[in-house]
Symmetry: C2
Subunit: 114 residues, 2 copies
DNA sequence: ACAGGACATCGACGGACGTCGATGTCTGTA
DNA sequence: TACAGACATCGACGTCCGTCGATGTCCTGT
């Protein structure tokens, strides 16, 4: 709200991300913005079968089973992981669409570095 | 920690992200995991000169100047924004290295969708 | 039917987060 | 030198987050 003749800079070109788009993507980033959850997704994504059962994920961390279950729930609620119960075990797999939705933020959208 | 003969799945191939790498990138994601901060970075990155002064950024939101200043500080502390005071005004610009560090997560690392 | 294991849920606790009004600091101008 | 404006900092408030122990639910083998 500066004086017209005293502008400090050009008034921000209009190709930036919309507020709605930001509100949509931020929860995905928030779900990933934790070291444990980041490693969880990475462990599942780098698995040979692109999925992993909770028991093996538990063993990869020095955390309680309740805590790992909580983090998996957060990732699942955010739409980043799929959940598949097979018998006694539960298998989580990554949702490529969700991950690429975040990836496109940094390549094609207004956040592209170049 | 299941019985050897009773494994529920292969014990997670070893190409996943390290704990140290996760601890390093998570703060960057946490800084971006907010709608306001996401728009701030987008506004600055999409600006013609790749920078923006705080006064214009203030006008783009229905938030207090103190709140915007706080968000800019968070982004700056995370290494995502550069700060340059020129006279009365302060100009923020994106740090391409930081942004591409996050971008590489989703393209080349263990989080790549394909 | 029963026992045991895999996983989810609950309740609680300490700490971090987003926002605000008020105030401080610095810079250019009258 | 005094003033006004741009931006940062401070202190406070309510809310959300990460973690835990305890408990619940569901499945499988005996």
């Amino acid at each position: 709200m500066s004086d017209p003749g005293l502008a400090c800079c050009t008034p921000l070109s209009g190709t930036a991300m919309s507020a709605e788009q930001a509100e949509q993507v931020a929860p995905l980033l928030k779900a990933l913005a934790d070291p444990v959850r980041l490693r969880l997704v990475s462990l599942i994504a780098s698995s040979a079968t692109r999925e992993a059962c909770v028991c093996d994920l538990n063993d990869a961390f020095d955390l309680t089973q309740a805590t790992i279950s909580h983090h998996l729930k957060v990732l699942h609620s955010a739409g980043l992981l799929d959940r598949d119960k097979r018998g006694v075990w539960v298998y989580y797999s990554v949702r490529p669409e969700a991950l690429s939705a975040v990836a496109s933020l940094f390549s094609t959208s207004a956040l592209a570095p170049a």
